[in-house]
Amino acid sequence: MVIAILCCFVAFAQNRTITGKVTTKEDGQPLPGVSVKVTGTKIGTTTLADGSFTLSVPPNARSLEISYIGYATQTIEIGSGSVMNVSLSEDSKALSEVVVVGYGTQNKTLSTQSTGVVKADSFKNMPIQTPQQALQGQIAGVNMVNSSGVLGAEAQITVRGGSSLSAGGRPLYVIDGVPLNSSGADYTQTQGGSSALNPLLNISANDIESMTVLKDASAVAIYGSRGSNGVILITTKKGASGKTKINADFFTGFSEPTVLEEMMTADQFRQFRSDYLRANGAAVPNYPTSSYNWIDAVVRTGNMNTANLSASGGDAKTQFYVGGTFSDESSYTLGNDLERLSGRFSLNHKLSDKISVGLNYNLSRVNMNRINTENSTAAPLSAAYLQLPYVTPYGSDGKYVNTGFIANVLAIEATGINKNYSNRSTGNAFAEWTIIENLKFKTDWGIDNYGIDEKYREADITTPGGYGYRTHNVDNKWLTTNTLSYSKTLNKHNLKGMLGYSFETSILTQITVEGTGFVSDDLPNIGSASTPTTASEEIFDWALESQFARLNYDYDNRYLFEGSFRRDGSSRFGENKKYGNFYALSGGWIISNEKFFNKSNNYVQSLKLTASYGTAGNDNIGYYGFMGTFASGANYLGQAGLTPSVVPNPDLSWEETAQFDIGISARIFKAVDLQLNYYNKNTTGLLVNAPYPFTTGFDSAAKNVGTLRNRGFEISINSENIKNTNFSWNTAFNIAFNKNKVMSLPTNPDEEGRNFLTGGSSVQRAIVGYSKNSFYLIRYKGINPQTGNAEWLRKDGTATTSPTAADRVIAGKADPDFQGGITNSFKYKNFDLSAFFNYSYGNDVYVDGLTFTDNFSSGSFNKSPELLNYWKQAGDNAFAPALNSPTRTTYHQASTKQLLDGSYLRLKSLTLGYNLPAGLLQRTKLFSSVRFYFLAQNIWTIKDKDFRGDPEISANGASNLVVGQSFFALPQAKSYTFGVNIGF
């Protein structure tokens, strides 16, 4: 009404015309589509393709407001002249104020959700293989542990402590609104490792603009039955209108292992073994006199190269982004290489004022040379450790020999094939229609087509006649998401609502052929095998249908409220529990927007309190676990057979996590952004493979029993310590404390009457009242200096040389007390330096490989030279028992001897960069920016002095129940890269 009267009034006055041009401050390029309007009015226009504008302004107009998304808005006084040229500078702050949330974006200040964001800046140029690695140490409460140094290994990642036991523990990854297929274990062979490859291997970090981790219930409830492990929203790079930008990045570098085990030399082994056998009255065999250093033979200098090229731009109606990356990497381990080609295209177009359409499409291909890993004696490093040092890879004729059960890994690498090829296309197309003012309908259609082929072939030297297999696994998903959203502002009341429907389905097909008996090693394909031993096709499908809604309300940007709801129906759930309802409520109070709050004080400039409570679920419970079935495939005498496979459970359903969160966000001392959160998560209806006595014929049945609690506290600090024209110093610090406690489990008591659950580890278990990752072991005491016997502790604490299973106690836990990261970035003139450390404290690591390297009595594999420090006479403080001690055959058995303190602090990356001066660049008339840099990863680590190996390890990948265990998993690589970023 006021505006209308104003308009009427100005219509009678004399207008005048102002012309001008809007350019970018950085490079002086014209900016089309910029809004130019008279401050406080609706009078305005937008700039043309050359950045120019012409505007008729009323005589009482005082200033023009020039705004454009991504640039800082400027208000310029209208002087007496009629020409006004304006240059706008990019405003990163303005961009950061928007946070990506489920099915939309929100203003950060007004959001009541607890989220964490990692932007491309922080992982750009990093030699990482998978997007998860970009999250390490960056967000409070997100614990990412690299599982091993194998290229493409799947990291262990938990958001606010793991919320599951037996069910899948991965967070939900959503890329531009498309939840990704991530049935990790179903795609690739483990090849001796404890987990399959990373299911996100094909997602190139170069295509990612940002990753948002949804942490609290208000953030994840909108993802319903899939939200409780946390949700990671990946936003890919998009175009922006303006001059077309071209960026080229290239880096090259090399890598080496952070740490290697030392093993006995051939002379040491022969001497030790002979002494051992003599001391026990056994005959000493005639050992070969040869020797070979297997470790040197399988470890090499790795190298990596990555080139990335992208172009983006557009105008007011159409924006595009197109980019591609090629990278290749050879690990420091013989035979392990990864090559990736990925491309991405994004297009947005406004058909009219009311309708816009868009498309995102990613294509990628990964070509890997895989290696066997960990618990495989054909794994290069495991075999190199265990191979008897007098065994040589070549015979007297110089040809490869079969070295026996501990494989000749040099021969395998030279003569075998172990390939993984994968293709993935993900994308979505959408249309958005503004039906009436404030009411929008959006329909979005997405796909995720992931195809993985593995080709494995052993030559005649490894398996007589040769052996090979080929797997072809395809997971094809499509989904549709339709939302109706409405927003309305009435005085100080701001209201936003959203209703949605989605349907999503995916079909996984697994095809395997396997064969033996080849006439020649030169015939690599299974079609040439005389005996096709396997021909298998299996298909698994699932579908999810959902309705969801969200309502946001705030009053005067001070009092915030949000409610969200989702109803999921899933093919995975039993008939009695087909549908699940999830919800969240949250509120916030922006104290600093209150009138009584003086924002100009020197201590606190902004202050917000939030609280939320709600629920989310986890549907990673398998495909058809509720149906009682007999499985096919148990054949006999050439006829097809059936065996019972699943105990029926029509009540099988999602796990449900209810979470309470309170948070404080503040900016203090005009330089420090502070975020504090406390949460309490209770997971009920835990999917537990409730152990059955084997006497039932089943090992377990899937049931929703058991409860788990995670409580924790998170602190994030971003501090602009020094900010001058020439020098700046920023610190980003985060720390998260989480305490995990199992509250109840199905009846399965240990000796103390506490129910427990194991998940494939004989040393780790979830125990009621304790961590879900408790190590349950006999305590190792040491070598008795008087007797030379190894001693352990009985449950009552007395020493014994013959402990039993009943002497096991809770000896540690795999989850840390706290973990996080700290980044210090410095800028001096054109130089930048940044150092990122991550750390973990209070977690134990069980190194299973030590039961082999410290195996005193076996003559079948090599040993650690530590064993040479065996007990010889009374008073010796020896590492190992006397040669003829009765404990010589039990010394290696699982105990706390293999349980090591896994706390560490690691300089994860160190970057030094130099930007060419702007003046110099202008003279080239070609480049808009050029930066050279050097980057080093994992170059410095503090760990416990007794830790043997790399403490950053959790070889079981995404497992919830087996964390912090390793069986010669490859250590992380130390890498050094040099690169350049060029902007045109």
């Binding site: 009682g628 148990a634 005498l637 065996t643 006497t695 195996n855």
Partner: protein
Amino acid sequence: MKFKYYIIASLIALAFFGCEKKLDLKNQQSLSNEDVFKSPSTALGALLGVYSTAQTLDFYGSLPQVIADYMGNNVDFVGTFPTLQDLNNFSAVATNSNVSTLWQVHYQVINRANSIIANINSVDGLSAQDKAQYIGEAKFLRALAYFQLANLFAQPYQVNNGTNLCVPLVLDEFTGAITYPSRSTLNQIHTQIINDLNDAVAVLPVSYSSAADTRGRATKGAAYGLLSRLYLYREEWPKAEAAARSTLAQGIYNTAADYTFYSGNTEEDVFTIQNSAIDNGKTGSGGWASFYNPAALGGRGDAPFSQSLIDAYNSEAGDKRFNLKITGIATDGLSRFFTSKFPDATNNSDNSPVIRTTEIYLNLAESLARQNLTPNVEAITILNSRIRLRAGLGPKAVATQQALIDALLIERRKELAFEGHSRMDLLRNRQSLRAGNTAAAFGAPKTILPIPQREIDNNKGLQGQQNPSY
């Protein structure tokens, strides 16, 4: 404008009415429990599933037999598995994972057999004769499972006349209600085995239409054969004799002329689990040929001949059974002897020997020898004309009953080596499993396996029933 509201209304309607059918997806690799016992073909599938389970590594795919060899004196342990190394050293713990899986698979065989026994009579279209036969086959396999469990988890009959604790007895189909059975005594388990085998001989056929089925599925002869072994272990000599004679009376068994019969499905085979390149018990962890073959032939090279076995063969020159060997590099990188009874380490297609005619004759001869204070003539004939003659050894003169028994036991060792017999043959004769090793002595606690800790944890009926020293 109204048009727009229609669209909005229909969009909302569309968004909130789903279709439940899209969520009704079925496992395409499995049949529902209800469908399995509805037709003769699926019922036969379920029966073959029991055999298929018996085929696996942890039942008759070699692991229990290899473990028995590792605990005995026929092989050396040169492998890499710490769990097997511990069994070889008599230093195993109750959490030994091999023991746990072995127990698990044996009870799978038992429960799957129970399921056949409980449900087969309800199958429409299956003849009464087939129904009875399927039950007989299931009972035979159940008896085999209990017999093998008894041998591994209980002290032999000779320790306390069968009053020691053995394993839990489960005879009913598992329908979802968990039971917590305690261990029965060895005598109780043996009685059940005898009952099952007696039921089986009444309904099992003498033979099937194909040689592979006749040797690879349960038959009258196989059930009598297993009975004769059990009675031998129980020192019930007349019954052992009668059962052995009953097997031979079926008319389809005879000792082979030479040692080329392995995996041959000849008259030498009484019950032999049938393997092929595409259907066998091998896992990544092993199989007959994997354990017993050197790496150059595709095996692991884990279980070469022990010096004791070499000495046994060398005690009489020219024993053809000593030719059933190959020389190869063992896991310890040294050259050793390996058996050639299971040559196919690439595909593991070698059959699993369970009962063969030579054993039946040895059972017969031994039971005869035991019953007669003077050397039994028929037993001597078996010893010399059947066993030693074929081995290229001259007749052995035996002056006393004990000499005859000893001679038969020596032949039994040399004849049946690597086929899963030697450990029980030592224990039932009150002998040490390995000379000079007190832990291996007859009756020593770790000559039998621990009840898996996992099982004690999960079954309150087993708490307090662990074998001593574990």
